[in-house]
Amino acid sequence: MKLKLRLTLVFILIFMYLFALPASAIGTKTGAGPTNYTYNFSFWGEEVAMPDAYYVSASITGHDFGIGNFNSPHGLYIRDNRIYICDTGNNRIVLIEYNDTNGTYEFIKEVGSVIINGEPSPLNAPHDIFEHRTGEIFIADTENNRVLRLDSDFNYINSILKPNDASFEDNLDFFPSKLVVDHSNRIFVQARHVNKGLMEYSLDGVFTGYMGASPVQVNIFDYFWKMIATERQREQMTLFVPTEYNNVALDHEGFVYATLSTFTGPPENADPIRRLNAVGTDILIRNGLFGFAAPFGDWYWSSSGAFSGPSRFADVVVFENDGYVCLDRRRGRLFSYDFQGNLLYVFGGVGNAEGRFLDAVALDRMGTSLFVLDNRTGAITRFDLTAYGQYINDAMNYYFIGLYNESAVLWDEVLRLNGNYDLAFIGKGRAALRNENYREAMSFYEAKYDQENYGKAFSLYRKQWIEEHIAAIIIGLVSLYVFTKILGIILKIRKRRKGKTS
């Protein structure tokens, strides 16, 4: 009876434990709201804080140059040391040059109008500017429904207008908002309300077609309802249209990167960041290590409050090692990815403090320094790499060109500053694998749950182990066989003897 009572008690205790468990097991995941720190996501999908990879080194406003503050600027473009700002609200382009030697910013010129056929033609809310490799400048003069092609001194060459083409609806105005010119002199324009992809023009302004329309995503249930709906019901339903891009950027190889922010549904299905090749196919590598391989910003978000929903990328900038940084307009965060799609670090946020933005709209880089344009404050914030960020960046550069050992040295430095950095372990494992230290590589991969690479290292280690111990294995097997045979014979003899005696 007593035992039974005790057992019941134990059972009840176990039950209580079971019910108490979820509270501690769920843990705390990140919610919404700006964070003031640099972070990354671990294998378990948890937000992990880390040292700052970028720090704010300068803040630039129009006031600094005595030309009045920028009024809701939308475009930022940097080539070499030249910083172009589309001061949309003041209808002008401002050119600033950074002086390397003394670290100052010098005002070069502001352009409010161009001379066309001897008559000045003022700009009207320009949204983007691009300097071509040849030095020619392209301005998306949005409210004037044109793209201006200028030479390097802002002298008018020709303009790109609304295409006289059946594929472009007559009643739709041409509002070019973002543009790039690739290495083979094709102009790609993202125009407002155009969802057929990027509009492609030749340099002399001839419309040649659309490029890289995002495929229409149809929900199977929506499709089903649409199938059984009547004609009039169908008219009321939302149309399945491709989502339009909101920004474009060019990498050093001449590939076009495009961002997209008007998707509905989970962002991992929307591919909000794309690398388009010449025919408009998305060729971005989505080969990230853990869980969510595709780069799409934050992994968790709340669905209510001021900052709800997934990250909405507004701009992207690509480095020489094919790594890229995306700007999340919604939360003012910068997401840095490597060329495989691994998240390196996230920083920034919404706020009035240094390194925060009220409405970050544009992003560009000068070397490895990042410049972020804030639409609301009209200020440009410059970020520079910290020593920690520099190590990561250099390690990535070496990894990109295949120098795993050199990158492993830098990963060591990274680990000295941040022992939680998963990619450093993986990078060291990669170097160890290359150096045929399979055992070491396995331990690195195991530490960070990289199953696939662990498998590779393990299969090599297994092969090596068998090759080293082949003699012992064969001797062991043969002796086992002989032993069992002898044992069998002995048993047989014994049995026979037993049979004889009985």
Binding site: F19, Q451, F458
Partner: protein, 219 residues
């Protein structure tokens, strides 16, 4: 040795009863019919098998190569693993017994318990083998491991069905239908538990708040 396994008369001691689980794996109809009717297995041997099952499950999470099984070290709780094995078997036995007694089932509660655990022998065995295999195969060869575990599960579920047929002297159709009802019954039992605990906690909260009200009023 295999010849000895085939003779049912060898299964009289506790060790023999445990060995009988191997016989049931390959001769389910015959094996489960005699399981309790001829005392080939007892609650004691079933308890030992259950203990082995629990140990194998715990080892599975701790010894299997991380290429195949993940365990979040921060949140891992061996007690939870124990419960995840023991609780379903207990609930299943109770729910199944509850329904089959109403539908002409011949089995007692202990019969159902013993037969269920014996039916899970392949699952225990193949899981144990899987732990060893996982240490020598790589991620790319993981299909072998996963296929083995899937086979183990299917095999065990089929054995459990046959066991229910034989224990209760049912046709296959009746065994399947009562099993489905029993699974629904498990859900019902869990629901009652949840209701019970939430009501209890509400009641306790009521008295706590009552106490607080009184304390605040008179201080």
């Amino acid at each position: 040795m295999i010849a000895a396994l085939k003779q049912k008369s060898t299964y009289t001691t506790l060790g023999g009863q445990l060995k009988y689980s191997l016989y049931c794996m390959f001769h389910p109809a015959d094996g489960f019919w005699c399981l309790t009717r001829e005392n080939r297995a007892s609650v004691a041997s079933a308890n030992i098998l259950l203990l082995i099952y629990v140990i194998v499950e715990i080892l599975k999470y701790n010894v299997t190569s991380f290429q195949f099984v993940f365990k979040h070290p921060e949140y891992y709780n061996a007690l939870f693993t124990v419960l995840s094995v023991v609780l379903p078997i207990f609930l299943w036995s109770i729910a199944n017994w509850g329904f089959t007694t109403l539908f002409n089932g011949k089995g007692k509660l202990s019969d159902i318990y013993v037969a269920t655990i014996y039916a899970f022998t392949p699952h225990i065995l193949l899981n144990a083998i899987g732990i060893v295999i996982s240490r020598v195969i790589t991620y790319d060869e993981g299909q072998l491991y996963r296929t083995m575990l899937t086979i183990a599960l299917i095999w065990s579920v089929m054995l459990a069905l046959v066991a229910m047929m034989q224990i209760h002297d049912y046709t296959l159709l009746k065994a399947v239908s009562t099993s489905i009802v029993a699974i629904l019954g498990i859900g019902f039992i869990l629901f009652l538990f949840l209701l019970f605990f939430s009501l209890i906690s509400d009641a306790i909260m009521y008295f706590i708040s009552l106490y607080n009200e009184i304390v605040f009023r008179f201080y």
